[in-house]
Symmetry: C2
Subunit: 334 residues, 2 copies
């Protein structure tokens, strides 16, 4: 890197480094004429300050980390987009990390970050995450933390989640109203808060309609492993449910695969509904009923909250924020 430095500018202008620095940060205590001279030359030479020098000095990196389980996922990629939009506006950098649903990787990432690499962290934990020591370490090191979507209750930080209980209840109710009684519930991961809440919503709906809850209708797939289609096929063939409630998009797509393979007609023989942000859900065969989380808004919200924390504009932030999802009924539950 052959960059122009403050020193070089100062030399060319016959000024001191500090004057140049102040002129460029538009300090009010600098003569307007010198300010102009400095800014003119800086522009001419396309001066760009070395960010590391100033980060080192100020202990602020204007960088945040976004830790997500998976990038190529419609929900999370929209979250990224939302986060980006705010950070670009507020002049923050975003480092994106994938935990690949792996706890060890998540710990490695957060450990990496405590060196002061970032001013704050946005995280949606991996499916394996149960302990929170690594997150607490971040806080001890005074790194701001905001959790989203997959949050952990006992963490005393700002948490942004969806109204999973309510939307799950609504979706299950929708299935029940369409005549379904034997609804297979497919979970992704054992311990995630989102999954727990979605399951509770499902159970509440059953209760409301006096349908007994049946343990064996709840099945879990481990999102850190390749999805096993044969296993899913066995489950569907054995249980013969009249509907499947999928907690994540991948599971719904897998169900479509299985139904196509073993020739089960959706929605006549089986109805399918899923949490998903798939844009083409309306064009699937049959079009897929979804519960859509407002991913972009979630991204914007968490970025704003985190930056406010970093800049200590703490206007008494609420600790638990809920953003509502939308149920879209399509042909797969007709």
């Amino acid at each position: 890197m052959n960059n122009i430095t403050l020193k070089q500018l100062a030399h060319q202008l016959g000024l001191s480094v500090s004057t140049v620095s102040r002129a460029l940060t538009d300090s009010y205590e600098i003569n307007i004429e010198t300010k102009k001279r400095v800014q003119k030359l800086a522009k001419e030479l396309n001066y760009q300050p070395n960010p590391f020098a100033s980060f080192l000095r100020k202990h602020k990196s204007k960088t945040i980390a976004l830790i997500i389980p998976e990038i190529s996922n419609n929900f999370f990629s929209l979250v990224i987009k939302g986060v980006e939009s705010i950070c670009q506006e507020k002049d923050y950098y975003v480092l994106i990390y994938e935990s690949h649903e792996n706890f060890a990787k998540e710990v490695r990432i957060t450990n990496h970050l405590i060196g002061g690499r970032v001013d704050g962290v946005l995280i949606s934990v991996s499916a394996e995450t149960q302990q929170t020591d690594h997150l607490k370490t971040l806080i001890e090191r005074k790194i701001n933390l905001v959790m989203f979507d997959r949050v952990i209750e006992d963490m005393n930080v700002v948490k942004v989640a969806s109204n999973d209980f309510e939307s799950s209840l609504e979706a299950t109710e929708h299935l029940i109203k369409r005549g379904c009684k034997k609804i297979l519930f497919l979970k992704a991961g054992e311990n995630l808060s989102t999954m727990q809440n979605r399951l509770k919503g499902y159970q509440a709906a059953l209760k409301k309609y006096n349908i007994d809850f049946n343990d064996s209708l709840v099945r879990t797939f481990n999102p850190s492993e390749e999805l096993n289609l044969n296993e899913l096929e066995d489950i569907i063939q054995n249980i013969k449910p009249d509907a499947i409630f999928c907690t994540v998009e991948n599971l719904a797509i897998a169900c479509y695969d299985v139904c196509q393979k073993v020739n089960i007609k959706i929605p006549d023989e089986i109805k399918i509904i899923t949490f998903s942000n798939l844009k083409v859900a309306r064009h699937l065969n049959p079009s897929l009923s979804t519960i859509s989380q407002p991913a972009f808004e979630i991204g914007q919200t968490i970025a704003n909250l985190l930056i406010d924390q970093i800049e200590e504009k703490e206007t008494e932030q609420m600790k638990d924020i809920t953003i509502s999802s939308t149920l879209i009924k399509r042909d797969s539950t007709k």
Copy 2:
């Protein structure tokens, strides 16, 4: 940030800062015993070096930028995944920037980067980009550059692209063999290299089968704007093509929307094929024929190339690398 510093470690151990530093970088000139002592304490206190201090010192940030037009796009999000996988392995940071298909934004981003923020840049240019001054500035400042997918011919850098000409020819040929003669070609953006090559492939296929090329069958949509469905509907209604070749996924989905709305049957009345990395293409109604780029591999390739450049392992890199796409024939072209 209350971080443990080298100085604190040195103090606790009764050693000098430089010895500690050397012990931690595993320098051979340090007594094995002291090395162990130092490393033990560092681990106990969970010491993490301040990256900015070392970046400043070494003029290497171990950070690269990935500039793409759009994040929530199946192709680019898979590229990100590929880049991430290599960078995680080689211990590099990735900063992701979206140009939103906007030239001015792209220039702002690259300008931001010449401060030494990153050691290298991976870029797929915006649809508006025609000039290359901003990219040349990067090179002047000794920042390594690798272009991918949407490359610019006259740049003397490593470029990784798909075999757009060949796959486009193949796809068009496929349509022709299925009896199509009036194939609407939908471009995204006026000047992109990828679009030009795809168009040439289309034209070559027509020529091969002695079909006259008709200018008015080539239409362009501006990807930086919201796609105008009414305009697309008018085009389809007026031209009445027997097939549509879409250069990007969004256009294909829009075509599905229009066909559904005005009740044109795919594939009986019109066939549709598109470049796309949509995972659920096989479940669309009808299932969508696609040309799939190996996005993950492209991501891995460009990350490896860039890091090799940065670390000056320049084993005479080829300047132009082509990675083949795959044509998958499905019902939309039956």
